[in-house]
């Protein structure tokens, strides 16, 4: 996971160094994520360990398109419990870890053209790679899953100077159910540092 974080930072720095003619937004985002639906049954604790990188390219004064890649790490220690499966029962303390890696392409619509405080709405479509590790005793059970996912977003960008802004937004990640894993959706609050070129 440290490698993934480092890769995001390197990617962020690289993209920020590219000099483009059109206006571009590179954002490093801190993500607080709250589990919803089936994910809530597995882990019901808010994740304060999330990071994402967003890259937007303006194609119109009010519209941009781009990519977003992130990682949110969820964790919960379950109380001592007995888990029953058919005729077998197993008791112990479970330590549950979930890593969600959303990879999206989408667009943002800005309500104003170029103001200091600019509200926006966005919509993304992509995939989310989910890894669930359940530790019990000295053993670990791992499940992995790729799901189709989409994400509406609403927020505001505060731009005190022309080249730098702060972004705050609310995102709903709909991570669809697959045969191997239930719906792994989550709601996220995002605070981002935006470099504008």
């Amino acid at each position: 996971m440290k490698t993934f974080f480092n890769s995001l930072l390197i990617l962020f720095s690289f993209l920020c160094s590219i000099n483009m003619q059109a206006q571009t937004y590179g954002t490093l985002e801190y993500v607080v994520a709250m589990p919803l639906q089936d994910m809530k049954d597995y882990i019901n604790k808010t994740s304060f360990r999330g990071i994402a990188f967003d890259y937007q390219h303006k194609i119109d004064p009010k519209l941009s398109v781009g990519l977003n890649v992130g990682l949110s790490l969820f964790y919960e220690k379950k109380s001592y419990a007995t888990y029953i499966d058919g005729t077998s029962s197993i008791s112990g303390i479970q330590y549950r870890y979930l890593s969600a890696i959303p990879i999206y392409a989408g667009g943002i619509y800005f309500l104003n053209e170029d103001t200091r405080m600019n509200p926006f709405v966005g919509f993304y479509i992509g995939t989310t790679y989910t890894i669930r590790d359940t530790d019990m005793g000295l053993y670990r059970w791992q499940e992995e899953n790729w799901s189709f996912s989409m994400r509406p977003e609403a927020g505001v960008i505060f731009k005190p100077v022309k080249t730098f802004a702060i972004k705050v937004s609310l995102r709903y990640n709909e991570v669809f159910r697959t045969e191997s894993m239930g719906n792994q959706s989550f709601l996220a609050i995002v605070v981002g540092l935006v470099i504008i070129k």
């Binding site: 440290k2 974080f5 930072l9 962020f12 720095s13 920020c16 490093l28 801190y30 304060f48 360990r49 999330g50 990071i51 790490l73 964790y75 220690k77 007995t82 058919g86 005729t87 077998s88 029962s89 197993i90 008791s91 112990g92 303390i93 330590y95 870890y97 019990m136 005793g137 000295l138 053993y139 100077v161 080249t163 730098f164 540092l193 470099i195 504008i196 070129k197």
Partner: protein, 216 residues
Amino acid sequence: MRAKPNIKIILIVALLMLGCYPEEPTYVDELDIVYTNYNPAFDFKGVNTFALPEHVIKIDDSTFFNHNGNTEPEFVSDLYANIILNTIRNNMIALGWTEVNKNSNPDVILLISVSTTTTIYYYYDWYYWNWWYPGWDQGWGWYYPGYYNPVYAGGYRSGTLLIQMTEDVNTMVDKNVSVPWVVVINGLLEGNPTSIESRLSNTINQAFKQSPYLQQ
């Protein structure tokens, strides 16, 4: 003027995130697990008497070969064996079972073994028991009708307590003795003797608690 990424802010955010690592087990008993399984076709209420050996056997990585049944395997120390056997005995009696001598045709016999190897084999050799098991004959084995074998697991410095409830040998199929109930208790081999004693009795009690079908 070109804006440069604020490296200090990026580093602070990254360090904050990496610093929030999740909690991990603090005490060894948090790693103890208790697994039970049973044969749903076995009529637990149709039987009542049980026999317990006077020792708990120790299974290790070395091959134990005892064709004639005259050699005893290594036993677990009396300190721990007494805790194990008494806790099992008390639970069985509390559930309405009656303890009898192994030669008095008990309905079921409980075999208790401890493995301190890095891997647990659900099918260790019958030679470990032929010194004690009434009526033992060469070529015997176990089978687990109606359910899967106990889990196969690997671990580091872990200990496993295995309890097998074996059925009357007259019900044997192809020299295989039926095991209608099994318990696997696994944990880290750490801690002082008092702590190990407490963990042993707690986990054995839990095995009975999660097996309500044993109630007479």
